[in-house]
Every structure is written in structure tokens, then in C-alpha cells.
Amino acid sequence: MAILVGDDTRLVVQGLTGREGSFHGMRNKDYGTDLVAGVTPGKGSSEVEGVPVFDTVAEAVSATGANTSMVFVPPAVAADAILEAHDAGIEVIVAITEHIPALDMARTVTHLRRSSDGRATLIGPNCPGVISPGKANVGIIPGEICEPGSVGLVSRSGTLTYQIVHELTREGLGQSTCVGVGGDPIPGSDFIDILERFEADDGTELVVLVGEIGGDAEERASRYVGEHMTKPVVAYIAGFTAPPGKTMGHAGAIISGSAGTASAKKVAFEEAGIRVATNPTEVAGIVKETLG
């Protein structure tokens, strides 16, 4: 099994007619994802390599039964695109777009979490997407570095995720699903949301959690793991060398005072009985050891 995306995924790409939208949309399709539609307002009734394009997500859903959306539109209109997908009844929204203003996401995430008429799960924004190897790939994670298996992976980072997946695959440790939740200050889903799903997923035996400096998502996740998870979790955190107070790329990767440092997160994980790897290669080693 897998979480979030899989054999039942029917994908609509918001922004399919754009350069990156079409490139990655088609890569997802080539991977085997059931890409059923694209949405670009004003380009309804056209096609991108045989995939029908609609003016609105609602039309795409009603015409194709799309249940998953990938958002690949510019940051100024991305929050609107997410809200549109939610309004149209999409179940899983994967927002790749980065640099969406935090205010837009605060409003959007609040609406999605509260709205009674929707049941959408938002992954991202500013994330590499979700891949269930061998089943479906929604996002920009290179499919060729993954292998089907039983390791679940959740990460706030993009390329660091690839690095770790690559190390796992090289050690013969396939993945059930790899989820990039994104590094923004207000993500649609956080570690806990994904850990819950992995815990409930029959196809996942162990979870790799890849953290970053800034915020307290790792600290909260460690408490959750300690209290609610039966499956083993292996963690990796980047940013031990980051000087306090410096922004390291992600809006989320800001060290604020004593909390949020890599060391504080490491301590939190270890207190919850989670082993923390010191580099991406070691992650695979610990996973192998843990799975026996």
C-alpha cells in the first residue's frame, strides 16, 4: 500500500499549459500516474499532449473524475489555485509553487482545515511532491531514484529528500511513499499529519523523518512519535552548522532564539527514542539495521 497518492490517483495539473507544469506533468504521466486533466483559465477545450485542458478545476473534476491536483502556477495566484481545488472537491492537493506569501498560506490553510464542505489534504506549498514508487508520482521527485518498498519518508526539504531516497534505494531499501511537506512557515500538512497516515498504512514498516532547522515541527513530531507511533522512526536533521539568526533559503529555516536549532531537535528526537543520523548516508545504514 501507500499513502496520499497511488493506484487510485486521478491527477489534474493546475498550470499544465505552463513550461514547468507541462514538463513535470508529463514526467508524472510517463512515470505511470493517471494524468487526466489540466486546468488553465481561458484555455479550456485545448489539449497538452492528449491531456484535456479545462477552464476551471470544477469542470475538470466533473469531466474526468480527477481527485488529486498538482499546483504549478506562479506564487501570486497559487493560494487561489489551492482554494479552487479545494472548492472543487479535490482530495489531495500537492502545491509545488514556492515563494507564496505567508499571509496567503495562513488564510488558505486555515480555510482548508476548517471548511466543512471540503476534505482536501494539502501537501506543500514549496515542496517536491509525493511519490508512491511504482504507483504514482505527483510532483518533481525524480522517479528513477525510488524503488517500491516499505520505508515511508517525510521531509521538509526537496533535494535533501532525493539524496536520502537515493541512499535508501542504493541500500535496497524501497519506499512505500515519499512525502515532501515543504519548508514554508505554514505548510498544508506537517510531520504529524503524515506520520499519522504512515502509522495507519499497512505498506509502511518504518518511517524516515527528514527535518530542518527553524520552527518546532520536529519537536512536535517527536512528541507525537513518542506517544502515538508503534512503527520505528529514523530521523535526520540538516543545519547543525547554520549560524544562529541567518536565513538559509527556506522562509522556515530561521533560527529563533534557542529553540529551532538542529541540536535542540536532535535532543527532542533522542528523548522520544528516535535514532538520529549524522549524515544522509547514515540514514540508510540505521534503517537497514532497524529493519534487521
Partner: protein
């Protein structure tokens, strides 16, 4: 983007938050004329983005324009904790009866906004949190609902603000929140918010951080940013759209994605090296970006070796190779460069690099190997 005090206050003033009248000056003459136009006593304040200005001698009163020129002379050019003072804010001095603290910020763990208030102003909030946590009032503000008057009342009454300041404070707080939202701020901290002798409540200091992602809807962000001084490398990187931060070491680092770059820094450090910088070329970097990144890094004299650690996703290995080859051809590079390339089109990239050999170029098959090599090269050990 963190604003200077004078910038933040100007924005708050426009949002209807009372702030003292003031003028910016970059020379003693300007300070004197600012003091004259303000009339009477003034305070001259160093404009630097670092705490503890006062203790460092960066804030001084002046009774008249001549004195203002004199203290400005002392302050401008000062170095406060590594920050050089280029400007001062000359403000009309007032009678202060009480100092409070208040701020609005994003509460990441609750995915909402947070208002904070304390009757103990003028000191760092972390200090109050340590010594008297019960004196800090907090209120969560739903981003969709916005600030309702009761939020302001709750902060003011819970913080125990003086009765004489309550009414005005309750009126000022929603304006601060409105400014927070209207400016796309990630933080507005007013410390101290003061009660004056005349019973007015005003922002005596202001720390405002703006969300760079929202720049597209704020034409004034560019102008605000132009007041900031950054290193030559940082400026060059900025112009080229690179996310670059200078550090103290000698191993130059280029990677794609903040997480991978941070991880690369950690691995270099673990291998015994000291990173010279953080440089994230971002997602989907092309040859041009890679070439510029190499130019920025190699222009830093401290850099003894460079580690390029790319895991292709949106970023394509062939374009990375093209950028490296371009930089090596275009620039006179004498710093050894270790390239580790995986992911999208990595094989093609490796092939391209093999076909364009350069004496400074080394390759590594794994991230750890790359780190080891770069550290050895920085030490002068030729691997």
C-alpha cells in the same frame, strides 16, 4: 527583510500608529538641521539592526541642534557588534511615564498569528519570558477572522497595562495588526510602546520584518531594501537571484535546495572543514546560474576549495555541467572544484565534464566523498 527602525516607524506612522516625530540623518549637519526642524530636545539613535544599541552608546540625547550634531558625529561611523552605523534617527524627545512591550508575529506551530503584550517594556522579551513569564499576555488571532476589539482588550487587561494607557493601547493594537497584515510582515515588534507624560501611547522603537515572498504586491519593498548594506559577494549573488550567505570558513559550497546545502555544510564540518558560505542555486537552476554561483564563490579570497553538490530534480545535471564549463572558460579560476552530481541528467553532466577537462576540476561519486575531497583540498592536501 528586516527593516531599520526609521523605515519601520515610517510604515507604522502611515498605518495610523503614533510614533515620535523624527528625521533620518547621515551626517552631523543633517542631524543638526533635523534637530532644528523638530525644535527643542531630541534623541539621536544609531540605525543598526542589532540589539543593545543603547548600552553600546548608540542612543544619545541632545538638548539643541549643536549638541545633536555633536552626538551624531560620535555615533555615525561607530561599529556596534559588527554593524557599522551609517545613519541616525533624530527624534523629538518626550516625557515617558511607562514602557510596554508588544508584538505581532506568525505562530508557526498553531498556523496562525500571535499577539504578545507585556507591561514590562524596554527589555528583551526573552528576558521577560525567563524572569517573569506570567507578565506576558498572548492572544492567537485567526488569520481569516482578523483582529477583533476583544483581542486588544484581552492583551491590555491581561498584561496589566496602566489604567491611564488602556484606552489608547486598545486603539493602537488593532492598527499594529492591520499594519502587520497590510505590509505582509512576518514580525512587528514595538519595544517599548510608551505612555507619555501627556497620556499618549506611542511606538518608541519598532522592529519590522517583511515577507520577501510578498514583494510582488509591494512596490516599496525594493526601495526599503536599498537602504541595506551587504557584502560585495552577497550583492552579486542577490543580483543573480542566488541565495548566498557568507560564513567564516574556507570551503566554498554550492548546492541546490536549502536542505541539501545545509546538509552539505554539516557534512563538510564533520569532515573537519569550515564552510565559507551557504549558496543555494534554487530549483531549476540553469547553466547561467551555476556559472554565476561559481563566480561569486571564487571571488571570495578566503575560499580554498569549492564543493558543488547537486542532486537533480527540476535542476538538470547537463545544465549544471554546462555552467561549470562556462565559468571555468570565462574566469581565471585557481581554486580546486569538487563536483558531485546525481539525479536528473546526471550521467550526461558527468560525460560533459569528462569531455572538458580542467586542472581545477575534481569529481566525487557521493556527497561524503565530495566533502572529504573538498576539505583535503582546502587544507592543501592534494587528493
Amino acid at each position: 527583510m528586516d527593516l531599520f527602525e526609521y523605515q519601520g516607524k515610517e510604515l507604522l506612522r502611515k498605518s495610523g500608529v503614533p510614533v515620535p516625530e523624527g528625521r533620518v540623518a547621515s551626517t552631523p549637519e543633517e542631524a543638526s538641521s533635523a534637530a532644528r526642524s523638530l525644535g527643542g530636545k531630541v534623541v539621536v539613535k544609531a540605525q543598526v539592526q542589532v540589539g543593545g544599541r543603547g548600552k553600546a552608546g548608540g542612543i544619545k540625547p541632545a538638548a539643541n541642534p549643536d549638541e545633536a550634531a555633536g552626538v551624531a558625529e560620535q555615533i555615525i561611523g561607530m561599529d556596534i557588534k559588527g554593524h557599522k552605523v551609517r545613519r541616525v534617527l533624530v527624534e523629538r524627545a518626550g516625557d515617558i511615564k511607562a514602557e510596554y512591550y508588544c508584538s505581532f508575529l506568525l505562530d508557526r506551530s498553531q498556523r496562525t498569528f500571535l499577539g504578545i503584550m507585556s507591561a514590562e517594556g524596554g527589555v528583551e522579551i526573552e528576558e521577560i519570558a525567563d524572569t517573569a513569564p506570567e507578565k506576558i499576555a498572548r492572544v492567537h488571532i485567526d488569520p481569516l477572522l482578523g483582529m477583533s476589539p476583544f483581542h486588544a482588550r484581552k492583551l491590555v487587561f491581561e498584561a496589566g497595562i496602566d489604567p491611564g494607557a488602556r484606552k489608547e493601547a486598545i486603539a493602537v493594537l488593532p492598527k499594529l495588526y492591520e499594519a502587520f497584515v497590510a505590509l505582509d510582515a512576518s514580525l512587528i515588534e514595538v519595544n517599548p510602546l510608551v505612555l507619555t507624560g501627556e497620556g499618549r501611547v506611542m511606538a518608541l522603537d519598532a522592529k519590522v520584518s517583511l515577507d520577501d515572498s510578498a514583494a510582488f504586491r509591494h512596490p516599496n519593498f525594493d526601495e526599503l531594501r536599498s537602504a541595506h548594506e551587504i557584502s560585495a559577494q552577497e550583492r552579486a549573488a542577490k543580483e543573480k537571484g542566488l541565495n548566498y550567505i557568507k560564513l567564516e570558513g574556507d570551503v566554498g559550497i554550492i548546492g541546490n535546495g536549502a536542505g541539501l546545502v545545509m546538509s552539505t555544510l554539516d557534512v563538510v564540518k564533520a569532515a573537519g572543514g569550515e564552510p565559507a558560505n551557504f549558496l543555494d542555486v534554487g530549483g531549476g537552476a540553469d547553466a547561467d546560474v551555476l556559472s554565476s554561483a561559481l563566480e561569486v564563490i571564487t571571488s571570495d579570497d578566503n575560499v580554498k576549495s569549492v564543493l558543488i553538490n547537486i542532486f537533480g530534480g527540476i535542476t538538470r545535471g547537463d545544465l549544471v555541467a554546462e555552467g561549470i564549463i562556462d565559468a571555468l572558460g570565462r574566469l581565471d579560476i585557481h581554486t580546486p572544484i569538487v563536483v558531485r552530481l546525481d539525479g536528473t541528467n546526471a550521467e550526461q553532466g558527468h560525460k560533459m565534464l569528462d569531455e572538458a577537462p580542467h586542472e581545477m576540476l575534481r569529481s566525487a561519486t557521493t556527497m561524503l566523498e565530495g566533502a572529504d575531497k573538498a576539505v583535503e583540498l582546502a587544507r592543501g592536501d592534494a587528493p
